[in-house]
Symmetry: C2
Subunit: 306 residues, 2 copies
């Protein structure tokens, strides 16, 4: 089997190059390479122009809107995102955010006295709850088994509306208006595209149930932040737990930092340990796919935007 | 089928009496009753002496050590605890405590600035982690499916050492010394008995892995609190997340309230909503069992202590 000539950059500790070699690549400089594995999410450091010889670029990000916005992704070669490679850790974080909201973790963390009698009537449970997952790709699908194991029922919302395994019901996005009022809680796991910008706005928030928590582990732009702050201030929903924000980073003086019914985690759903593990696994997988003449996973569709 | 004459006390809103009636009981005063359903965890309000005619008492608590300590449980009749009736919500809370610790939820809740670069290297994951569950009764067993759904492996420790379904390994308590150093994290779900007092002490804490989180959803006395504070102060473990404490309630000036690597929730793993739901389900089940001439669930063994 002929080797794939691959540049692996910037890869300061050489670990991704080791992975590439073990998967069957010959690691070479950019000018000799047929493929490039780019190891960091910093778009600013990406080469201004790629040699025409580069036929395939593997990016480490799951969502590629910043690479599209920066004009880096072109139609001259195949680009693969690491979409799906971090589904498990991001789903795990979504579950934490949902449970932390429902079970009043912020009140507990801030407490310096035993507040059992105040908290007992406020604490909720996922047992018997209906959780809507808006955008049920790899992250949403990874969230279904632990939700079901805790006794929750899942309503999936996808572009196509094709049945998602494990979900009690799947709705097509176009027909999903009722989901906001029917779900006990809502998790956003949709990619950031022009279609999903402010998908959660004043209207959707006003239809959510009074105790419902909104969790966002996708991209900040999917939620209209001002509308969300309004809904929280008026106590119209249970709360919001966000790993992604708009703007991001969230400015120091933003009201969400101190809102008693908001939880902010700073885009850490996929932390360093799983970012590295997931990217390396995907890189090895895609090199093997390439060598076998198959289409690598996560090929970016310029029209769809992810 | 003859009805069971049952007193249901104190039951201020009459909801437990409704449940008892639907399950086939005739709700009567204490002096006429053959059985008593006691609806609150307040031992102080329990009748000083029960009529001899009361052959069975259903208590609402899962753990009964306070009823034993108060001398209420006697050997003159059958006593049933609600052991197992709250397994699902307590397991759900244990999962939250573990994830909140691993994923640095307290740091996030206290932050008022975007700390992504500081937190990214510190955040852990349950994916691929080995979680020891010490005392694998109904709560521990309910915790196994969600842990497995998140990619964790479970090592169960039980009195008997008989295989626990879903656990990768089961160890008998007497042979479980190695578990402290081999587990990535440890969840305590053992009943409070004289055997389990200070089951987690200086020795066990010193053998735990440097990043390991200790979760306790059982009873505070199972952990030696002073030894735990020492281990946290010296940074010998990842942290501790406790829904139960010793003493309980935790006094206002206790160092655990403000320790950066401690999470305290005030015995709310089984909140009001699931306490009510679980007790009513158990009461109905046990009335049906009694009427069918079967042994009710949760019969207290005075020798074993639960």
């Amino acid at each position: 089997m002929s080797k794939l000539k691959m540049a692996v950059l910037p890869d300061p500790d050489g670990s991704a190059a080791d992975v590439a070699r073990r998967a069957g690549a010959e690691v070479v400089g950019l000018d000799e390479a047929e493929a490039l594995a780019w190891t960091t999410s910093a778009t600013a450091e990406f080469p201004a122009a790629l040699p025409d010889s580069i036929r395939w670029v593997q990016l480490p990000s799951a969502g590629v809107e910043q690479w599209l916005d920066a004009g880096i992704i072109d139609d001259a070669r195949t680009w693969t995102a690491a979409i799906g490679a971090y589904a498990a850790p991001v789903a795990e974080h979504a579950l934490l955010l949902l449970l932390a909201g429902l079970r009043r973790m912020p009140d507990c963390v801030r407490a310096t006295t035993w507040s059992k009698s105040e908290l007992m009537p406020q604490v909720g449970t996922l047992g018997g709850a209906a959780v809507a997952i808006i955008g049920c790709g790899s992250i949403g699908r990874a969230l279904i088994p632990p939700l079901r194991a805790l006794g929750a029922e899942v309503v999936a919302v996808t572009r196509s509306g094709r049945d998602v395994p494990g979900a009690a019901r799947t709705l097509a996005a176009a027909d999903s208006g009722e989901v906001w009022s029917q779900a006990d809680h809502v998790v956003i796991a949709a990619p950031a595209t022009s279609d999903t910008r402010h998908l959660v706005g004043r209207d959707q928030l006003s239809r959510m149930r009074p105790g419902a928590w909104l969790v966002n582990v996708a991209r900040g732009s999917v939620v209209d932040t001002d509308a969300l702050v309004g809904a929280l201030d008026e106590g119209r929903i249970g709360g919001a737990a966000l790993d992604v924000t708009d703007p991001e980073p969230l400015p120091d003086d933003h009201p969400l930092w101190t809102h008693p019914r908001a939880i902010i985690t700073p885009h850490i759903a996929n932390p360093a340990v799983t970012l590295r593990r997931g990217f390396h696994e995907r890189l090895a997988h895609n090199i093997a796919e390439h060598l076998a003449g198959r289409r690598p996973a996560g090929t970016v569709d310029l029209v769809r935007g992810y």
